[in-house]
Symmetry: C2
Amino acid sequence: MKRFAIGVDLGGTNLRIAAISESGELFEKVSIAVRTLAHRDQVIDELCRAVRSLAVKYAAQGGFAGAGVGVPGILYVKTGTLRKSPNLPGWENFAVRDAITAGLRTNVIVDNDANAAALGENWLGAGRDVASLCLLTLGTGVGGGLVLDGKIWRGFLGMAGEVGHIPVAGNGVQCGCGSAGCLETEASASAIVRKAKELLLSGSSRALAAAAKDGSALTAELVYQTAKSGDTACQEIFRSCGRHLGIGLAILVNTLNLPLYVIGGGVAESWPLFSPALFEELTRRSYIFQEGSTRVERAQLGADAGLYGAAYLALQAAA
Amino acid sequence: MKRFAIGVDLGGTNLRIAAISESGELFEKVSIAVRTLAHRDQVIDELCRAVRSLAVKYAAQGGFAGAGVGVPGILYVKTGTLRKSPNLPGWENFAVRDAITAGLRTNVIVDNDANAAALGENWLGAGRDVASLCLLTLGTGVGGGLVLDGKIWRGFLGMAGEVGHIPVAGNGVQCGCGSAGCLETEASASAIVRKAKELLLSGSSRALAAAAKDGSALTAELVYQTAKSGDTACQEIFRSCGRHLGIGLAILVNTLNLPLYVIGGGVAESWPLFSPALFEELTRRSYIFQEGSTRVERAQLGADAGLYGAAYLALQAAA
């Protein structure tokens, strides 16, 4: 009989839970707004309730392998304890794996959400045909996950893949991590908005000023639309994003020599605007990339990558 | 019966060959000057002759597992072909593994010399107690090798671990690899000599000018001695080297989260001069390093690391 597992993506905004078969079929997906829940214990309760409910509902589809949970932030992998989690205030130093295991009494695997997404893209997305890949998710921040020979590379503390915090800009701006000039300060949605604000202040983009005057919030999406309609100052923001991604990728290519680097997250939607500068910089900075067979591609599973990867974690662990 | 293997370090200056037991005992080491040999075929002949001779001489010590060979340069690992090798002119695109195998008729493993050194440090040196490490060798250039879970991480083309070419200096000088501001252009012996020449030209170090006027060649060693005797301009060269190493290490720590990073090569001798700036920069740029358990230490096996690692490659392959 086929097996199935539950994948959970515990985000700062939504808690999403899906039942997924070992052949990659998604039976059902549930989404619960986290902000309606008063306390982290309530989040854990809802999470466990939804997992149990799906596990019972699809029991006829196969053996239940357990639940995999992707959480945002820095996780001590051995203990399943969140170390830091800017998107889940109040969850610092919380033993999230123990809490979920207590509520479920089944196999529970907890991992960083970007790691889970990387594994998802390796299982069913852009990296189906390779053994190893690195995923970079360009969202509010820049996250990352490494899959080496089909398994998440966690590092000895479980903190590997923090590619958002590799230095790529010599005299870059201060980053929330304490460093400066990180990839996250140059290629995230927040970086795009910061640079757009600078444009508005300096008066260098009339198109952006007009678009923002509409009452529209200044978002990376608005900057993208303004760039797409031909505004050269906004286009330069995406080229700068691409150049810094190129530097970051050159670092990863020269260090790890993986066959595939996958770009996901909301900012990846602006691929046509940043990718030419990305490839130009990467080519210049990596003779390994110049060899010709290294691929850099867009993610394929969107926001579901983490759900698939989390379910796959449970399937791998139970196999 | 105990097994033994032959480790070979094929350098641009010396060809070194050693018989090493599986418990790490070095029976005998031979060194042959490469420049006395007219052609690469002659180097291969000498290499094979020395390996055969040691294999016969120590046959009574145990079963012969084969030979491991560390070569400088970029190697296609699947075919054992050198892609580029600045230190072995005329060896480009040479099928070095096939040539050695034909001359030996035994198991021959060929790998990059820095990879072999990393494995050697993992087997018997600074990384005896860890499963994974990254070695950075600071010599004329900056080489590197990754050992993940006890095995060399080669990447899909066999080109992983090229940490000398990760960008660490925003507006850095041109590197031989085609990029600019690489770790190699900031933290190698060549970088130290380049910066010392700049000092002499600008007249900012009377001590260095006096030392070089002696007829002494301007070497990294001379700059080191001048810095050690208190010359602040020369000391700043090593601090700059340390800062750039700190940036490079922050990249590696945040990406890979390994327990140990090992610094080897001739420049590592100036550890007391560059390490304070290294740790300062690394601490600032890596919240993972701030967690406290990541180690950065000096290599322990010196120039023999590559010999031990090459022998261990043969022992691993035959196991």
